[in-house]
């Protein structure tokens, strides 16, 4: 993980999940699994977050909330669908109120299947997402903008500092 220049923060939202995956996401933050060693903090504010962790199969009432949270997050951002319900609807696929998967609504970068998804696989999914996040950030600096040169050199400095430490 030497290429990580910044601490990615995550926001978690329960989109009609049974809770199983949600308590496993929380368990990732506690001493046994401890994702804070990657610099990850669970935040409640979409504007502070880089990683959007969604669980559950998305019911009608939740569509607007998810869209709202996703739109409020600043670029670059990645979405991790945790649990089989978030991937495809799972056992609730045939329920009348379930859309069946987060990817029906917003683009998903990493799928973490499982019912309930184990903390190990959630951590693996989030770490994979961090690679994608870094990729997206690099691509963003190529976009011509006012402070493009400054931010690119800034990133390089950060990376070399991280390498020497």
């Amino acid at each position: 993980m030497t290429y990580l220049a910044k601490s990615p923060w995550l926001i978690h939202y329960d989109a009609s999940s049974c809770n199983g995956c949600d308590i496993e996401v929380l368990a990732c933050l506690t001493p046994m699994y401890d994702v804070e060693r990657f610099g990850i903090i669970n935040t409640g504010n979409p504007k502070h977050a880089d990683v959007f962790v969604v669980t559950g199969g998305v019911n009608e009432l939740n569509r607007a909330v998810i869209k709202n949270i996703y739109d409020q997050m600043v670029e670059p951002k990645v979405v991790v669908a945790v649990g089989i319900c978030a991937c495809s609807g799972g056992v609730f696929r045939e329920c009348y109120n379930i859309s069946g998967g987060i990817d029906k609504l917003i683009p998903v970068d990493v799928y973490v299947p499982g019912c309930a998804a184990r903390p190990e696989s959630i951590i693996d999914g989030i770490v994979t997402a961090l690679g994608i996040l870094e990729e997206k950030r690099k691509n963003m600096t190529n976009v011509p903008q006012k402070s493009a040169d400054n931010s690119a050199s800034h990133n390089q400095n950060n990376q070399s500092a991280g390498g020497t430490q």
Binding site: S16, N19, G20, I23, E24, G56, N59, C95
Partner: protein
């Protein structure tokens, strides 16, 4: 009278792992009314009985909620077994009781952690969840799943526990008991926690009774209701006393849950000592024809599974009345008159489980 303002609380909120929306009507810093909106976790899984046969519907019933998962599947299969008149082997009843108490303990520790977090005690939150991992390890070793076990089935259970593993579990619980005492001393005797909780969000026993409070919310207000006293599973062969506190404030509800952890350890101890030998499941034919109200005690209170079948493989109706649903009217009463800063603490003391209450 000062001007009223409305502050929206949820559905996405840092103290809530699950979505519920409350409109808090404030006068200055005081809450004068709370209007709940639910429906963010409604999946409509009761209607799936039309598409799933009754033995495989156990998996859906278990996924009503990921925290109280085992007890949901237990209550559902109990109902089916009562309608069909199945005599479940004794050993299966004892194993169900052990797993039920394990899930109660992991739920209470999870709650104590979240509760500490809502008050700003980050390290207590981490410690409570660290201890909870010991319980989940035992669950995983015996059932194969951490939070969703899938071990209950109509006519018994899928897995047996060897006598050596039972001894090991007992030893593990004894060690855990010592660590729990250290942790719970913080919740029960720490002066800053007492200062924060004593007298906050008072629910009188009359209000608790008339508003239909169940579980620790009712027991914290001095009402002695605990479905385990009705003797379902193996509870008719176990001696235990429900924990009842009389003050009705946030501290009392916290104390009920803290002390119930030790009751659960005691119940598991008795189960392991009295565990009979024999098979853990039985064969059955036919399908349920009739109806039954199956009641069980969840970590959050009494759950009722209503099951109606007509002799076909798909049952006609499955309806669940979950504890959080009946605890929402007491919560709305509790919120009136508290300060805005205390709202997360008061909301958490009923241990809201939205996944259960909306299904």
């Amino acid at each position: 009278m000062s001007k009223q303002i409305i502050i929206p609380f949820g559905p996405q909120h840092p103290v809530l792992p699950e979505p519920i929306h409350l409109d808090l009507v404030l006068e200055d810093e005081k809450v004068v009314d709370a209007i709940p909106t639910i429906g963010y976790v409604h999946r409509g899984l009761e209607k799936l009985v039309e598409k799933r046969e009754f033995p495989e519907y156990v998996f859906i019933a278990e996924r009503i909620c990921g925290i109280c998962s085992f007890i949901h599947s237990q209550a559902y299969v109990q109902g089916i077994e009562q309608i069909m008149g199945l005599e479940v082997p004794e050993r299966a009843q004892f194993l169900r009781t052990i797993w039920g108490e394990y899930s109660r303990m992991h739920s209470h520790l999870l709650w104590l952690g979240l509760f500490a977090d809502s008050m700003g005690f980050e390290s207590v939150f981490m410690n409570a969840w660290r201890l909870r991992e010991h319980l989940l390890d035992d669950m995983e070793a015996t059932t194969g799943g951490r939070v969703i076990q899938g071990v209950c089935k109509v006519g018994g259970v899928r897995k047996d526990i060897s006598p050596e593993k039972l001894d090991e579990m007992l030893k593990g619980l004894r060690t855990l008991e010592h660590e729990l005492r250290d942790l719970l001393n913080v919740f029960l005797y720490d002066s800053s926690i007492k200062y924060r909780l004593k007298g906050l969000g008072k629910l009188s026993s009359e209000d608790a009774y008339y508003l239909g409070a169940v579980g620790p919310t009712a027991r914290g207000s001095g009402i002695d209701i605990d479905m385990r006293s009705t003797g379902y599973g193996a509870f008719d062969r176990i001696n235990f006393k429900p924990v009842v506190e009389h003050d009705g404030d946030c501290y009392a509800r916290c104390a009920v849950r803290a002390k119930e952890l030790f009751t659960s350890i005691d119940i598991i101890d008795q189960c392991i000592r009295k565990m009979p030998d024999g098979p853990v499941d039985m064969k059955f034919t036919g399908a349920p024809d009739g109806e039954y109200f199956s009641r069980a005690e969840q970590p959050r209170g009494e759950v009722v599974h209503y099951i109606k079948g007509n002799g076909k493989r798909n049952i006609l109706r499955h309806r669940v009345r979950t504890p959080t649903f009946t605890n929402i009217p007491p919560l709305v009463t509790l919120l009136k008159g508290v300060e805005l800063a205390d709202v997360p603490v008061v909301v958490l003391t009923i241990d809201p489980c939205i996944g259960c209450s909306e299904r």
